[in-house]
Symmetry: C2
Subunit: 161 residues, 2 copies
């Protein structure tokens, strides 16, 4: 199978397959006399495995260290351990997300709970002090010299040349 055929079957681009090879995720396959790579049908499986693992949150680096030299010979211990660590990672992230979400929901409520008898600036001060977890003095917001926030066009970080 040529790379084009493999790309079609696995649903990836040619460049991505070559990139995986250069990244050490795929063994360097045999070449025909003209230099073309020839893949065995199992290559499709390996690529599917890689993309599946990616969707589950594994980086290519992690995948590379897990993939065995032969699809039938996995390192059980390392594999199980990595899987467990990934589960732990997910759980940690889940906790962070739960917190973030709770804070955002509280913030929305807070903004919407503007007392009728205070002005916008005062409400901003009130909400801001909740966000930053500290009191904010009046002059801060009232001063005409608060010119910190801009709408400048985004500078591109170098022309990478």
């Amino acid at each position: 199978m040529n790379i084009g055929e493999l790309a079609k079957r696995a649903g990836l681009t040619h460049s991505r397959i070559r990139f995986y090879e250069s990244a050490g995720l795929l063994k360097t396959v045999e070449r025909r006399p003209n230099g073309y790579r020839t893949y065995p049908p199992e290559a499709v499986l390996v690529l599917e495995l890689i993309t599946t693992a990616q969707k589950a949150g594994f980086s290519l680096d992690e995948i590379r260290t897990l993939l065995p030299p032969d699809l039938g010979q996995w390192d059980h211990g390392a594999l199980i351990e990595t899987l467990r660590r990934k589960v732990a990672d997910i759980e940690a992230l889940q906790m962070r997300l739960k917190q973030s979400k709770a804070q955002l929901v509280a913030l929305i409520k807070d903004i919407e709970a503007k007392p009728d008898d205070i002005d916008c600036a005062a409400n901003a001060r009130r909400v801001l002090s909740h966000i930053l977890g500290k009191e904010i003095e009046k002059p801060t917001m009232a001063a005409g010299d608060v010119k910190l926030l801009g709408r400048a066009s985004r500078r591109r970080t170098g022309s990478a040349g």
Copy 2:
């Protein structure tokens, strides 16, 4: 306040503050005759607000479009809407994580549930077919020509020069 003082108070690096300015997150502040930037005390607040928003999952781009020209004058509607969208994003991510976690846990169980009477390669085949959600034929794993997985050193993508 000079940039060094601000950096210390906000707990950021000088370069990061300058980067924020160039990225349009901070208004270009006044300069002393020698060219030094001078910040009002409120700059600390703005920086804290930015880092807080970042921790909550907002990109600098999002933050830039949300930050008002004046700390007292927020665009209520846009703000609330963005906050709600972010909450929705988090919820979507939470669902994905829940799924990924469930799959990983199932996978671990599956790997550990190797029947005593089959060999490793057969177990690998069994587990793999669960992962990829399809049957895998024996020759696939048994063939000696399955040489797809490599441990090649990682190629760096250009010297960026």
